[in-house]
Subunit: 321 residues, 2 copies
Amino acid sequence: MKVLILGGGGFLGRKLALSLADRQELRGSKIDQMVLADIVDPKPIDAPFEMEYQRCDISDPASVATCVDAEIDVIYLLAAVVSAHAEQDLDSGIQANIMGVLNVLERCRELETCPVVVFTSSIAVFGGDTPQPFNDYSLPNPQTSYGAQKMIGEYLITDYSRRGLIDGRGFRLPTITVRPGKPNRAASSFMSGIFREPLNGETANCPVEPDFKQLYLSPRKCVENLVKGAELDAVDLGQNRCLTMPGKTWTIAEMIEAMTQVAGPAAATRITWNKQPEIDGILKGWHMDIHPERGLALGLEADESFEDNIRIYLEDDAPKS
Amino acid sequence: MKVLILGGGGFLGRKLALSLADRQELRGSKIDQMVLADIVDPKPIDAPFEMEYQRCDISDPASVATCVDAEIDVIYLLAAVVSAHAEQDLDSGIQANIMGVLNVLERCRELETCPVVVFTSSIAVFGGDTPQPFNDYSLPNPQTSYGAQKMIGEYLITDYSRRGLIDGRGFRLPTITVRPGKPNRAASSFMSGIFREPLNGETANCPVEPDFKQLYLSPRKCVENLVKGAELDAVDLGQNRCLTMPGKTWTIAEMIEAMTQVAGPAAATRITWNKQPEIDGILKGWHMDIHPERGLALGLEADESFEDNIRIYLEDDAPKS
């Protein structure tokens, strides 16, 4: 079993790689080799099998061809240009999020090996005029280019799977909270920042009202679901290979209260509440009620509570003093 | 007012051009010039304004640039690789139905003229695991590459409109019946053939059961809706620029009965009933109940009866003896 993680240098790709190194197997087979590929050099990890590290720009077919070879059984396609970046730079979004997906799928088609392809879509596909709550059969009406590009990726994944060129499955990731590390260009970046920075003794800004609602999932559960996602039987996925990864809906106020329960009252006092006009439009469209029924029925899981998310961050990712 | 019809050599493009020549105006402005562009040379039409005819391959950005200039106010984007063709030839489908749409939109973006773009999608987007009936907020789960590619076009049209790069609107065309001329490579071709050929004294094959249901529309009403579609206010289209063009749902049996009512019993005896394995898979997925509510609310119209469709064919298109 050879696994390729495109986007293996990102925080989720790295956590996934560490989890697979720990499990040593996937889809009932021992992992012999894993390749981490990213637009920047991925950091090495310790693993009990052969590791390879590559630069890969998915928007370049030649670069994709050097990473995707005939030995690969499972491809995780996590590489993407994120929301606020894709909104500011339409070309980069199209190149990575549309052409990049197409390049990977075309390479699989050329090899005729029909690998499992696990694609990460996003709940950013939802929004617009479609009546809420959103379930797996609601029409996504994204209000960002990122969301539109992710939907295009979903249709490609399902169509190439229907044609037998890949065995694809796509998961619309909830907002992953609490993300470790630094803020990124995702408009959702603050949804981790307002917990991560205050827990680390720093201030952070919240640009939305306390009643802002979203679907959230911890990085640990997300990685577990990505592993399970690769292991699902194609027949159980049916005619639509893409669905919402389970998460739970909380308000900002509920999440701050959970942080206070777990870590005491000081952290919440470090949050400032200023609007950010440059992402306000994106965020207004992301106040939503999402029901991830298909994913739950397939055995994917959400966190039990936001207290759990905070504990998972403190256990897995917080800087140890 | 300058109008461009990409796909202006096709049967619908030509009927649309004739209708616009007759109206002489669109969106409240006098038409000064119209360009018909197609992959083969479009046949000339009589018009009371300047006409231009061009070859255009929408899958080639340079070809698109020669057709789409800064004077154009309204673009009809009808050019496409149709269903059975796109199913047999994935590359051609991707090139025309995805890259072709992207090339037109990118050219508009480059010109910064924000033209009205009327895109023809298809009810072939529907199907799969999504529960019926399908309305404008149902998740399309197409079971052909053509349907997937049309959905990708829809997401591009809505996103480029949201960004203010075009003023787009997309309409999922019902099966257009009775189409004049010869059978084409669309899997739905028989849905016209079983009326057209028998009415002209020839035989035709029906590869589905008499209870097969679909959404149908006459070419005349389709053209009226395409004209109205260009004239809709963007604000009335809301955040999703794409919707189902109204049509009516009939069974094959009901339609044959209507033909008998209008044209006598002889025609129906010329229909043969043999399965066609090469399109059977496509057709099974097209047995569906579609509710085109948004289009009706916006003032687009369906035919009153299938008797009307038959009469419209006899008036507009049947060879005159």
